[in-house]
């Protein structure tokens, strides 16, 4: 029996290089379709090989164009590359316009590239709730590097850290003075700072400010973020950017930080999975169980307080499990 013979059909097709099967499985993951679970479980042990690189930063700084540049660079090195580009969903209609493919130029029919647009679907933090799982599918598909582009991020959008092993924070000249870079949030998560649009005036100053920030000290893991300048307009600096990313990836390996980081992320992931399940069970129990339902009447009548009611609900559901 071949090693793939025991896989469920969709998983087998993905491992076999079927692009359409991969695309459909991604849709199933995005839609939380429980039918995809056997495939996801089967594919998990085939993951962990791809390097997942995040590009984040405010809107309009050139993230998609940088990804386009990196894509060409990595393909020239013979690496297979996946791109996941996240754009926001409308909080009003739920719809979205996913426009990152406009910037991506590639050879038609190149089997070494797979690009997928994702809508954030109400998830905050810069990525979609399922971006991590979609990365895993691209990993199982056999891609070497996965470039993840976040939505245009604000100061608190740092969830790319849960997805990528190296995070590049992309900035442009004139975004603010050096005090901005001291603030918490986005600037804290950078493994690499990239000042893009270096063809514009002020890029040197921005890079200098960031270099000063970096010189204030290494991050808690002992890494001092690199500062690079790029221009996708002139095509300069992309090789330097990739070298900086690569240096951080090597740092993770030499310090055993890749394994430790993944361990922490996976711990959070399984806790989140359990939390979701327990949350659903609790809600269902409240709806169904007449005794528990009376708790709500008691709360409204002020005969019981929310903390006591929560205790009661928790004990009740746990007792049944």
């Amino acid at each position: 029996m071949s090693p793939t013979a025991r896989l469920p059909a969709a998983a087998r097709a993905v491992v076999g290089g079927d692009r359409r099967a991969l695309a459909r499985l991604i849709t199933a993951v995005e839609n939380h379709d429980p039918a995809a679970l056997p495939d996801l479980r089967a594919l998990y042990r085939r993951t962990g090989k791809a390097r997942i690189i995040g590009l984040t930063g405010p809107l309009g700084v050139g993230k998609s164009s940088l990804i386009n540049g990196l894509l060409a660079l990595l393909r020239a090195q013979g690496l297979k590359v996946g791109v996941i580009a996240v754009d926001p969903s409308s909080p009003f209609s739920g719809g979205s316009v996913l426009g990152d493919r406009v910037r991506i130029e590639r050879q038609v029919g190149d089997a070494g590239v797979f690009v997928r647009s994702m809508a954030s679907r109400g998830h905050t933090g810069g990525v979609a709730a399922t971006t991590r799982e979609v990365c895993r599918l691209l990993d199982a598909f056999g891609l070497d590097v996965i470039l993840v582009e976040t939505v245009g991020s604000g100061q608190v959008d740092v969830e790319i850290r849960e997805v990528a092993t190296t995070s590049v924070v992309v900035l442009v000249p004139h975004l603010g003075d050096e005090v901005q870079s001291l603030k918490a949030g986005l600037f804290e998560i950078a493994d690499v700072f990239c000042v893009n649009k270096a063809d514009l005036a002020g890029a040197d100053l921005a890079a200098k400010d960031l270099s000063e920030l970096v010189s204030l000290g290494a991050n808690p893991e002992g890494w001092r973020p690199a500062v690079v300048t790029t221009s996708t307009q002139t095509g300069t600096g992309l090789d330097v950017l990739w070298s900086a990313i690569d240096a951080h990836e090597q740092f993770l390996d030499t310090k055993d930080l890749r394994r430790l980081g993944e361990r922490r992320r996976l711990a959070r992931e399984i806790v989140a999975l359990v939390r979701e399940r327990v949350g659903r069970e609790l809600t269902e129990a409240l709806d169904r169980d007449p005794d528990l339902n009376r708790l709500l009447d008691g709360l409204v009548a002020r005969t019981i307080d929310p903390y006591a009611a929560a205790d009661r609900l928790y004990r009740d559901v746990r007792g049944k499990g």
Partner: protein
């Protein structure tokens, strides 16, 4: 996973302009209307080849494709997109079209499988309603 299914996943639609044609205002207006109707619009814009359109349709697993053409090359480009879709086992993805397309051509395009052709003056409401009706349901 193990999460409850959301009631109705959004329709994913690809909006593309095949060929050499510099006018994308119409395609953008339609993209925005479909967004406002709750769809996820993968907008690839200008100067797409039929091959790149079909590559995008595969990777994005779209339920619907909208092609726009104002250059007059629709009779050359649209059938090529349809044929390529069939060749790549995507024959079940419905395609609609918009642009400056004479009635006679519109009839011919519908005959070969374009599901709807929208000319100047079509209301956005009509486009949205039709798009919803013809979109492939998530299997």
């Amino acid at each position: 996973m193990g999460r409850a299914s959301t009631p109705a996943p959004p329709i994913r639609v690809l909006i593309a302009k095949p060929g050499l044609d510099g006018h994308d205002r119409g395609a953008k207006v339609v993209a925005r209307a479909l967004r406002d109707a709750g769809m996820e619009v993968i907008y690839v814009g200008l100067r797409q080849t039929p091959e790149s359109i079909v590559d995008s349709a595969i990777e994005e697993d779209v339920d619907l494709i909208g092609l726009s053409c104002l250059s007059g090359a629709h009779m050359a480009l649209f059938p090529r997109v349809l044929n390529l879709l069939k060749a790549k086992r995507l024959g079940d993805v419905p395609v609609f079209a918009g642009g400056i397309i004479p009635d006679e051509d519109a009839r011919a395009l519908k005959k070969i499988g374009i599901r709807a052709v929208f000319g100047p003056g079509t209301t956005l409401e009509e486009i949205v309603t039709t798009a919803r009706r013809i979109a492939r349901s998530h299997a």
